[in-house]
Amino acid sequence: MAAAPAWGGGPLPVVTTTTDLKALVEAVGGDRVQVDALAPPLADPHAVEVKPGQLVKLKAAALLVRIGLDHEPWLTRVLRSVNDPRFAPGSPHSLDTAKRIQLLQAETPRVRSERGVHVHGFGNTHYWLDPENARPITAAILDALARLAPADRAHFEANRKRFLEQLDAALRRWSQAMAPYRSVRVVVVHETWPYFADRFGLTVVAAVEPTPGVPPSPAYLASLIQKMKEAGVKLLIAEPSANASVVSQVAARSGARVVTLIPSVGGDPEARDYLALFDLNIKRLTEALTAAR
């Protein structure tokens, strides 16, 4: 007889590393899952501190869903202290959603370190910010959930179908809103937005802070501002964690307009789920682009 699942007959307990994955698991699992995210929405991935209650939840979880690559350096220690073989890579209880994603900025680490930029060794990790990537991510989530609760497979499939229909409608809406701004050049504060920019046709030409946490030098800022003026870059994309004084100085000197986009579900009260996150970002972006023209 197969061992009875530890979670009994109630909703399947799932733990995700980020709030974005939590939103996507909820979209597929509906009322048959109980999801908790370990990291708060705007946390610096290098400074996440997990609380005892979360360790307890992780210990009791049937499934751990993570962004993968090197996005969660803090998770290794957490998993070591939970010490549960179920969450070993490749186990049905551990899901790395990066596996099915076409990654950007994935030059080999050696080449990248030679260029002086070594943030993401395996490729940029912010892939959830391309809404098209919600398809492979939710497909992976569906597989993982259905393997753990086979009786609910039809329920999960129906949920995902409904979610993808909403996503398709939203994508049409967003693409339409962004259509007039194809190939507009923008500068970002951090390299958080390559997937988002790729999807909506923006060209990211430079980052204000190529290495997060290391303030840019005067010469770098000066040449950046010079180039922004010459190329007529009118938009600077920041996130809430960006250093406000650096952002406002670059904007003031280059004449670009700042728009603060939210990188994660829950990072703003309006960004309460995955689709609302993009609704908010597209709204802010189009308003800023219209004003900057």
């Binding site: 705007l42 946390a43 609380k51 840019p216 040449s223 010079q226 010459e230």
Partner: protein, 430 residues
């Protein structure tokens, strides 16, 4: 680069303003032996802002500033009442406790409002490069007022810092003067940290005052020397940041460290020269022994662990490649020169092509989609080839080390050890 200079004007003025007040307060802090009081008060202010944030005020708002100030005054009160004549615990312990507890309390508070944690962290980081003229002006006015108040009450406040026993005997208002000192100090630190960050504020406070204390004992002398030191370091640090393209705040703090090291070295050298004059060459025996032991250690490490990093040898080989080439076979030498040449060529080409790639991105050069993709792929593979060439050089260096371990390691170990032994014996005889 003209624009970069333009960038550095306002930070330079900010540095001067910081020098003005912080050097003076630093004299007090150093004399009182409460070195980390600024970090503790900055942390208390950050806790105040965190609480303001939780109460629904934005971090940049006036309300948040008043919260920070109220918390700082509370901290000042605590520090002034915790000073006792025969204290069972040193005041530095209380400062440390206040620092740790307020930092931890801020974490607990911010845990309730996850969106704030990054902002709170930034309160303590600051960004001297992007300070605005308005901020510098406001700081200058505020610090002029604080400076004037300190000038007016300099007699009791200086006495409490520099001669606390006499002050406790003669002065009846010691706690009140202490409170005034800590409250004004907290106001200054809270305001400075917002624009310059804790590291820079700490350096401006302690390092010039320490340099002054190393060179003279009078308060006025220390103040003047400290101001000159702070001014000089600001100029050198900002220039370094401009010339070598370094993050500005970190460059200034490191310059502070290097300059204080230079002052200490100067004092040490002067003392040594004086000793040599009175006692002759024998005075150098101690330093010579240390040098010999270092040589022996370097040789010993090369002998036992040839594969570890021997930076001193790398530097020598960079300057004089013969030191490495002498340990390679003729064929290996050819490979060495070929790889170096290839790296040089590849580097130049990569730089040129990356420039083109940048121009295309910024729109100053036109290029078709397909050509852009080809350029990207070419750059990636060219980078790999250069990395390969570097690996060849590393392998050759490893081979050279295997031979150097005996031919260099043993002689260095022997010479250094023997030198140290002889010097030790000479010292004992003297």
């Amino acid at each position: 680069m003209g624009l970069a200079l333009e960038f550095l004007w306002v930070p330079f003025l900010a540095c001067l303003v910081l020098t003005g007040i912080h050097v003076y307060l630093g004299l007090h802090v150093l004399a009182r032996g409460v070195i980390f009081v600024d970090l503790a008060l900055a942390q208390v202010a950050a806790l105040g802002i965190t609480v303001a944030f939780l109460a629904g005020h934005s971090i940049q708002s006036d309300a948040a500033y008043w919260y920070a100030l109220a918390f700082t005054v509370g901290g000042a009160l605590l520090f002034s009442v915790s000073r006792m004549r025969r204290a069972p615990i040193p005041q530095e312990a209380i400062i440390g406790i206040v620092y740790a507890v307020s930092a931890a309390a801020a974490v607990l508070v911010v845990d309730r409002a996850p969106q704030g944690s990054e902002h709170i962290k930034q309160l303590l980081v600051g960004s001297i490069l992007t300070v605005t003229p308005k901020e510098v002006g406001a700081l200058a006015i505020l610090y002029a007022v604080v400076g004037a108040i300190h000038w007016a009450v300099r007699r009791p406040v200086l006495q409490i810092s520099f001669d606390p026993e006499a002050a406790l005997r003669e002065e009846r208002w010691v706690r009140w003067w202490d409170f005034l000192f800590y409250a004004s100090f907290g106001l200054v630190v809270t305001s400075s940290v917002r624009i310059a960050g804790v590291l820079l504020v700490f350096s401006y406070l302690i390092v010039p005052a320490a340099a002054g204390a190393l060179l003279t004992s009078s308060v006025a002398g220390r103040l003047l020397l400290g101001w000159a030191f702070g001014f000089l370091v600001s100029v050198v640090g900002l220039t370094a940041s401009y010339l070598w393209d370094l993050p500005t705040g970190a460059a200034v703090v490191t310059t502070f460290g290097a300059s204080l090291g230079a002052v200490a070295l100067g004092i040490g050298t002067r003392a040594l020269v004086r000793q040599v004059r009175t006692r002759g060459v024998k005075a150098l025996a101690g330093a010579g022994m240390v040098a010999c032991l270092l040589v022996a250690l370097a040789g010993g490490l090369l002998l036992v662990f040839p594969g570890m990093d021997h930076h001193w040898l790398n530097w020598i080989e960079e300057a004089a490649p013969t030191v490495e080439l002498a340990f390679l076979t003729p064929r290996e030498r050819d490979t060495y020169w070929e790889s170096r040449e290839a790296i040089g060529r590849g580097q130049a080409e990569l730089q040129r092509l990356r420039g083109i790639q940048q121009e295309v991105q910024w729109g100053t050069r036109q290029m078709g989609q397909e050509q852009q993709e080809r350029l990207r792929q070419f750059l990636a593979s060219r980078g790999e080839i250069s990395a390969g060439d570097r690996m060849v050089l590393r392998t050759l260096r490893g081979k050279a080390r295997e031979r150097q371990r005996y031919w260099l390691g043993i002689p260095l170990l022997a010479a250094g050890g023997l030198g140290a032994l002889l010097l030790a014996r000479a010292r004992r005889r003297a």
